[in-house]
């Protein structure tokens, strides 16, 4: 039976999908601005961030309204909780992209060292993680979500490699310290994007299965212990 709530939930998913597309674009453009000294992209990133912020507020307002009016349960309830959390994560992705774009602008005049070639690779990986995590949420694909959580380690490794390269550079030439520190911040922001994508993937698992896998723990969904309290009959599956 098609319910009115289904239509509203579909609208909410569309908004999250749009937020995700915006965030992915912002991430790739901010890194392109850094690599290619293309400050023309910055206005576009700022414009996209405004749209992202508005969408976050809209998603939250919709979640609040649907909770109050429909008092959802089970999957519907988990979907609304997940959507609210994910909109916050995606909005923060936008903040990270803005941080990178601001560094790109600050360094556009003078860069004593070239940005790491690993930055585009990190940006690509981070964007893919964002795309995949949102898709896992929209399609309730738990296997996909679990792959993203595992993939975060690869992004962390890249960040560590970049950090080591920059530290070595600074040790050799103190005149590059200011610029190298900015690049460290870029690496940190890209790594944090992976963390947000991981959080989204964890929310996707919660929505799909009611299983809270945050912070490395994976307890059973609200299932009572094996006490006789849960005297579910043999008919129940």
């Amino acid at each position: 039976m098609e319910r009115r709530l289904d239509e509203k939930l579909a609208g909410l998913k569309n908004m999250l999908s749009e937020m995700s597309e915006l965030a992915e674009t912002m991430i790739s453009e901010s890194v392109r601005a850094l690599m290619e000294h293309d400050t023309g992209l910055l206005a576009n990133i700022e414009h996209q961030e405004e749209r992202l912020d508005r969408l976050q507020v809209e998603v939250d307002e919709n979640c609040c309204r649907l909770l109050a009016l429909y008092q959802p349960t089970a999957f519907d309830l988990r979907l609304l909780l997940g959507a609210s959390r994910i909109s916050t994560e995606v909005e923060r992705l936008g903040d990270k992209a803005v941080n990178i774009s601001q560094i790109a602008f600050a360094l556009s005049e003078k860069q004593p060292i070239a940005p790491s070639e690993k930055f585009p690779q990190m940006a690509r990986m981070a964007s893919e993680m964002v795309h995949e995590s949102i898709h896992a949420f929209l399609t309730l694909d738990v296997a996909r979500a679990r792959l993203i959580i595992q993939r975060d380690d690869a992004l962390d490794d890249l960040k560590n490699q970049v950090t080591q390269e920059l530290v070595d550079l600074m040790k050799r030439d103190s005149s590059v310290i200011d610029c190298a520190i900015q690049f460290l911040v870029v690496a940190r922001n890209l790594e944090r994007i992976g963390d947000h994508a991981t959080n989204i993937a964890e929310d996707a698992i919660f929505v799909a299965e009611g299983r809270d896998v945050r912070h490395g723990s994976e307890p059973s969904p609200y299932r009572p212990s094996a006490s006789n309290l849960d005297a579910t009959t043999e008919q129940a599956t």
């Binding site: 008092q71 969904p221 309290l229």
Partner: protein, 260 residues
Amino acid sequence: MSAEPAEGTKVPKICIRNLKVFFGNVQSLNNITLDIMRQEILSIIGPAGSGKTTFLRTLNRLNDLSPSFRSEGQVLLDGEDIYHPSYDPVALRKRVSMVFALPVALPMSIYDNVVYGPTLSGAPKKAKLDELVEKSLKAAFLWDEVKDRLKTSALRLSGGQQQRLCLARVLALEPEVILLDEPCSGLDPISTAKIEEALVALKQDYTIVLVTNNSKQAARISDRVAFFLMGELVECGSAIQIFTVPKDTRTADFVTGRFG
């Protein structure tokens, strides 16, 4: 709303084992096995015709009043089979009492409504009756509203007050188990809230089984919820589990309003 009864209270009051209920050739309940704990509120939810009320009426043998009724399996109250031929159904109904959907105030005073049951089974002293009336009306969250007009007709009470009077009348019998069949179906939200408040307070001393068509009510006040469908118990779990992560898709479809 608590997910589980407090520690140390997980003692079964009623054990239902492989219960099947028939009315003539029609089977209404199919192989129900379920424990109902002391000091808990167990809510029974399910669509119309799922067997909720039949199940409830089985617990104090009200179905016996139908000539075509027949049952198989066991319903054990404190370990004793209530369907054993030697078990007295009248004594059973004193221990396991029922509040019905439609409040029926007897055409007499509020006071006499409450003492009606106890005086039928003897004639306690006036002081004892006074004490019983106050205690029962307080437990039903009605005392403050009627204490100054106990001798007025119960028929002058509002629907919500009459339902709480019915609850007080049941409590005056000092039962061990209270069965409620959609007790708030005709009540406004305030009256509903008062009944719910009373039930949550009463579970400290009673075992409560509530049939409700209001799944939000089940979520608000139950310790556990059992979902019935077409005479079968599909799933029974803590209220939070049933309403957030139901195990069975049929339960999920029902609690999210896809059918029922």
